[in-house]
Amino acid sequence: MIDQDSTSGKTRELARRIRIHSLRMTSSGGGSHIGSIYSCADILAVLYGHVLNVIPDDPKSGSRDRFVLSKGHACAGLYAALAERGFFPVEKLATHYQNSSDLCGHVSHHVPGVELSTGSLGHGLSIACGFAYAAKLAGAGHRVFVLLSDGECDEGSVWEAALFAGHHRLDNLTVIIDYNQIQGIAPVTEVLDLAPLHDKWTSFGWGVREVDGHNHDQLMAELSQPLHFDRPTCVIANTVKGKGVSFMEGTVLWHYRIPRGDEFEAALLELENCK
């Protein structure tokens, strides 16, 4: 049972709603990254349900925390989080992937509350470094968060940006890596092994923590405050691809597969019953 009165109870309920919305959105649309959305649904819920200082009525408020979804293919999860936070009506989610909608299959900055369009991997961290550096120059107190995928860490530009942030000690910047161990068409260890990921980020000048990326209390503890005052933070979130739907968990198949028919019904039933 989710205790909806506790803080983590609220964010866990938000995560469940994000998963249900995303299931419907990817099912009716022509494309899916449902496994990648579910591995980071708890992270998105903790960010939008508790950590981020954002104002739905004033999405461009100067003092807002900036969140960059660099793994833009998980955008259905972000759109769902934004709708649940009141950035736009929940009904709009039904237009995802439909003709004439602005809710495209890789995240779009035309959607209220979305900072940046991404979709090509390896872009978000550099831009976020620009946000963080600008905040330092201005003496502004807001924080900058970036959610990366593990496969995205294959991109050289991620490491260019990691060098920059470490060098300039951007302690207002937090990277979260959705380390679900499965990339586009194969497990990370088979494609380009990232291990030891912790050591890589540490050696680039970052303060690194590892958490269970589905444990809301742990996520809150690591994300609510910057971990260091002299360097950027990297939170490696150990996650399960497809988390929340038993037959999707830990499979390469559900990176791209669209949940339809019996699979859709079975997934919905599991999510609705996990209260």
Partner: protein, 317 residues
């Protein structure tokens, strides 16, 4: 042009604290003064152009006017997707500066020849493409891209045409400048190779051919009005650029005039037709080898005119 750029930028940056200059670890001795005077407005990003461009987009979206500075293809093609997605798509106020347009760094080889940049950059949505022909244009273009909100590409050359501006003349993005007038044809140039166009116009006068010379410092948006007028009033258009023959200024002029139903009596593109340069040489030397210098322009123009007059004779006989 590089010095004209940095002098102008330094002057304006003193008044405009939101201006930032990011370099990809180039500009030794050139950027020192800027860095010393405005340490908060300067970043050496290291040899990391993708990150430089992404960070520039982030800074720009937070209200800065950001210049990225590098050489040849490094600030453009090396990080093209960051320019497309991060800068252009978000309409970020980023100005990309290339201090080695064309074969300015001729002797170092093809890696450093920026000879496809105009074609590539002009195809990007929201991008303004500026390629000054002389030092005055370089300084004025620097001011103009600061005042112009949104992405811009500033292609600076080592070579430059002699000064030709009138006192009080106003530089306007998207408006070509007439360097001299003539009735027989128009030489249309972009970038430092304007100097070859001016020299060719002098030489052609000795053959009794009087050329109009236009400096098209803004390749995008293109001044179709001035170009159309040149076609109507002088007949032939000769497009001169230190760039591959495909897709650059010649391509832009042809596309636009054809669509406007403007048909010059003849149309000649002077550009690189032989692919990558495999030989060593200064910019001047390579222009000679590849048919871009004043003498080559004269020869090509005379041949084209005689071809046209032969055709005309056949047509009337």
């Amino acid at each position: 042009m590089r010095d004209a750029f940095i002098r102008t930028l330094t002057e304006i940056a003193a008044q405009r604290p939101e201006i930032m200059l990011l370099t990809g670890d180039l500009g030794f001795g050139v950027l020192n003064d800027f860095k010393a005077r405005f340490p908060k407005q300067f970043l050496n990003m290291g040899v990391a152009e993708q990150n430089m461009t992404g960070v520039a987009a982030g800074l720009a979206l937070e209200g800065h006017v950001v210049f990225t500075y590098s050489l040849g293809n490094f600030p453009t093609i090396r990080c093209l997707e960051q320019i497309r997605n991060d800068v252009c798509y978000h309409e970020a106020n980023v100005k990309i500066v290339n201090v080695g347009g064309g074969m300015a760094y001729g002797a170092v080889g093809a890696s450093h020849h920026a000879t496809e940049d105009l074609a590539i950059m002009r195809s990007l949505p929201n991008m303004t493409v500026v390629s000054p022909g002389d030092l005055w244009e370089a300084a004025e273009a620097t001011r103009a891209v600061i005042d112009h909100p949104g992405p811009a590409y500033l292609r600076l050359d080592k070579s430059a045409a002699p000064p030709s501006h009138q006192s009080g003349e106003e530089f306007r993005l998207g408006h070509a400048r007439m360097i001299r007038d003539g009735n027989d044809l128009t030489l249309v140039a972009t970038g430092g190779i304007l100097e070859e166009a001016v020299r060719a116009a002098d030489l052609l006068e000795e053959h009794g051919i009087f050329c109009r010379v236009l400096s098209v410092h803004t390749v995008k948006p293109l001044d179709t009005e001035t170009l159309s007028a040149a076609a109507r009033e002088t007949g032939g258009l000769v497009i001169i650029e230190e760039h591959m023959i495909d897709g650059g200024l010649g391509g832009a002029v042809a596309e636009n005039l054809l669509e406007l139903n403007v048909h010059p009596t003849f149309f000649l593109r002077i550009g690189l037709r032989s692919g990558f340069s495999s030989i060593v040489g200064t910019q001047q030397y390579l222009r000679g080898v590849y048919g871009l210098d004043a003498n080559a322009i004269v020869t090509a123009v005379i041949a084209k005119r005689s071809e046209f007059s032969e055709t005309a004779k056949v047509g009337t006989s």
